[in-house]
């Protein structure tokens, strides 16, 4: 429901600069995902937006109103923490009601809102349990429920799925996506280091690196036209293949990037030739690792039915219009 603008926001702890001047415009109702390697400042940026940390310089605007020094509870935000951060001594109902009780909401109003949120998250039967009697997935739902009942302008998620096991992570990911759909007016900001979560959930992704925004765009934009070698390597799984040295010189660039699905085994008309050193067959796809003499083996995605013996000599061929060329600064050379 809120538009959030960050204008040259900086944060330093003593002499250490963590956020080095971030400009970002998060649209109202948008699902924005901050993604980046550990230590890039994505969690810090979320905490600056939440108000748990003060920004060192710059401006933070919520719907055009400057909130630099506003307390978290006054900003209209709700936060879901990685470790759930439920109050251990309160049952689920009280956990969700705590904020409203502090705000002197009437008991009837509290009951209505808690029950509505509990129903939405299918935890209505757990309301009188203590957090320790819940499973990890249920705890995370309570934490999300605690955020919903606050009826915030902005939802902040700090790696909410990292403590869950793989199956539950996929399921909860779907539920968060559905939640955003159901609460169509809520702005959501989501921090993760998992690029799959970023790709599947985001309206737009903000890739951060060393306290600076590397690129902001829709998942498709980042995937198809990355703004740097860093983004190209970070987004997509398996990682984009990079070629340097003489391989890249053929294409007049310093680094040549090509995704595995844009490569194919082609023995009749090969561009590069090498030996199969490894393969990972996932059933639907077979990722074939071919050593063509570059620093790392090239990963070629083939259909799961394609099988090759280790040590086989093969030729590979890229789709020419899907090559990513980067200059010495890691910036893309557009055609």
């Amino acid at each position: 429901m809120a538009r959030i603008e960050l204008k040259n926001v900086r944060k330093s702890y003593g002499a250490i600069d963590v956020i080095k001047g971030v400009n970002l415009d998060i649209r109202s109702g948008e699902f924005m995902v901050f993604v980046g390697p550990s230590g890039c400042g994505k969690s810090t940026l979320l905490r600056l937006i939440s108000g748990l940390e003060d920004i060192t310089s710059g401006d933070m605007l919520f719907d055009g109103e400057r909130v630099n020094h506003l307390a978290p509870s006054k900003r209209g935000i709700a936060m879901v923490f990685q470790s759930y951060a439920l109050y251990p001594h309160m049952n689920v109902y009280d956990n969700m009601a705590f904020g409203m009780k502090l705000a002197n909401t009437t008991p009837e109003e509290i009951r209505v809102r808690v029950e509505k949120a509990a129903k939405m998250l299918q935890i209505a039967h757990l309301l009188d349990r203590l957090p320790k009697q819940l499973s990890g997935g249920q705890r995370q739902r309570v934490a999300i429920g605690r955020a919903i009942v606050r009826d915030p302008r902005v939802f902040l998620f700090d790696e909410p799925l990292s403590n869950l096991d793989a199956a539950l992570r996929v399921q909860t990911r779907l539920e968060i996506a559905k939640l955003h759909h159901d609460m169509n007016k809520a702005t959501m900001i989501y921090v993760t280091h998992d690029q799959v979560e970023a790709m599947t959930l985001a309206d737009r992704i903000c890739v951060l690196r060393d306290g600076l925004v590397e690129q902001v765009g829709t998942p498709a934009e980042l995937y198809e036209s990355p703004n740097s070698v860093f983004v190209a390597g970070f987004i997509g799984s398996p990682k984009m293949n990079f070629l340097t040295g003489k391989f890249a010189e053929q294409y007049n660039c310093t680094t040549l990037g090509i995704r595995s699905e844009h490569l194919s085994i082609d023995n009749t008309n090969p561009v590069w030739q090498g030996e199969v050193v490894h393969y990972e067959n996932l059933g639907s796809d077979n990722y074939i690792f071919v050593d063509i003499g570059s620093e790392e083996p090239m990963i070629v995605r083939e259909d799961g039915t394609v099988t090759l013996e280790l040590g086989t000599k093969v030729g590979i061929r890229p789709q020419p219009h899907n090559l990513h060329r980067f200059d010495a600064n890691g910036k893309p050379i557009r055609r």
Binding site: S73, F81, S83, A85, P88, H89, F98
Partner: protein, 274 residues
């Protein structure tokens, strides 16, 4: 071999129990004796008479002394916990310059032996004008209890997950609400442990109690017992002293029994992640 080990283990347990319980057991035995049988060495009850207990309350102001002790110890615990909880919140959670130094200073304060500060403290108490009142004892006991209490609670509070506090901040809680509504319920074990130790300390204290009070109405139990006198100045009324000792030990035992499960939880808290 296995059974021999078990046997040795329980023998050791028995020795420890006997060594620690025997003095108290002997005090109970003696408190039931009268006359010359006091000076006979018996290890099993030989006579049973409540006359010593009766005389304790006849002599001086023993009931008053007990109430004094209860009041002083309770107030000390209440004051020490109130100050320690708020101080430990600051020391554990608020970042400020000189926090480490302050913590070390607090620890250093508890190094001074009581006798070293006795005269200074006496002057201070006279200056404030609380000499020969329970407040003199409450003040001095609180001073000596606080460093330990603050340290234990600070360590305990540091181990509470910071996210819980942040969740409360996002929920709109003030620092005072965070302490009272979120932290205190989680800190019960630590509070009970430190509170009980403070209570026992205040209950047993002798030197300050002797120095800072002068009349029988303001004395606490340990001093009152030491000043119990017999019919003549050459007679030590062992039977009455033992009866009084048993009487003042009982409240502590009851408290420990009530809170024992919490104490164990408090002593091990922080060691394991909840």
């Amino acid at each position: 071999m296995k059974s021999l080990q078990t046997l040795a283990f329980y023998l050791l347990v028995l020795v420890i129990v006997v060594v620690s319980v025997f003095p108290f057991y002997y005090a109970i035995l003696t408190s039931f004796k009268t006359g010359t049988s006091l000076f006979e060495v018996d290890y099993w009850p030989t006579s049973f008479s409540l006359s010593n207990y009766y005389s304790v309350f006849q002599q001086g102001e023993f009931l008053r002394n007990i109430l004094n002790s209860v009041f002083v110890a309770t107030m000390t615990v209440a004051l020490a916990l109130l100050m320690a909880v708020t101080a430990s919140y600051a020391l554990a959670r608020v970042r400020f310059r000189g926090r480490g130094l302050l913590l070390m200073t607090i620890l250093a304060v508890s190094m001074f032996p009581q006798i070293a500060v006795l005269s200074g403290l006496f002057e201070m108490i006279r200056f404030i004008g609380i000499y020969n009142t329970p407040w003199a004892l409450i003040l001095s006991y609180t001073i000596f209890t606080l460093p330990f209490t603050v340290w234990v609670l600070t360590t305990f509070m540091r181990d509470l997950p910071i996210e819980i506090e942040e969740a409360a901040i996002v929920d709109g809680a003030t620092p005072w609400q965070i302490i009272t509504k979120v932290f205190l319920p989680l800190m019960w074990p630590a509070l009970v442990t430190t509170g009980l130790l403070a209570f026992i300390g205040a209950w047993n204290e002798f030197l300050f109690a002797l120095t800072f009070t002068s009349s029988n109405e303001t004395r606490t139990v340990p001093v009152a017992i030491s000043l119990l006198s017999g019919a003549t100045q050459y007679e030590t009324p062992w039977g009455i002293i033992m009866a009084a000792s048993v009487l003042v030990t009982v409240p502590i035992i009851i408290l420990v029994l009530i809170f024992q499960r919490k104490i164990v939880a408090g002593l091990t808290a922080g060691g394991v992640k909840g």
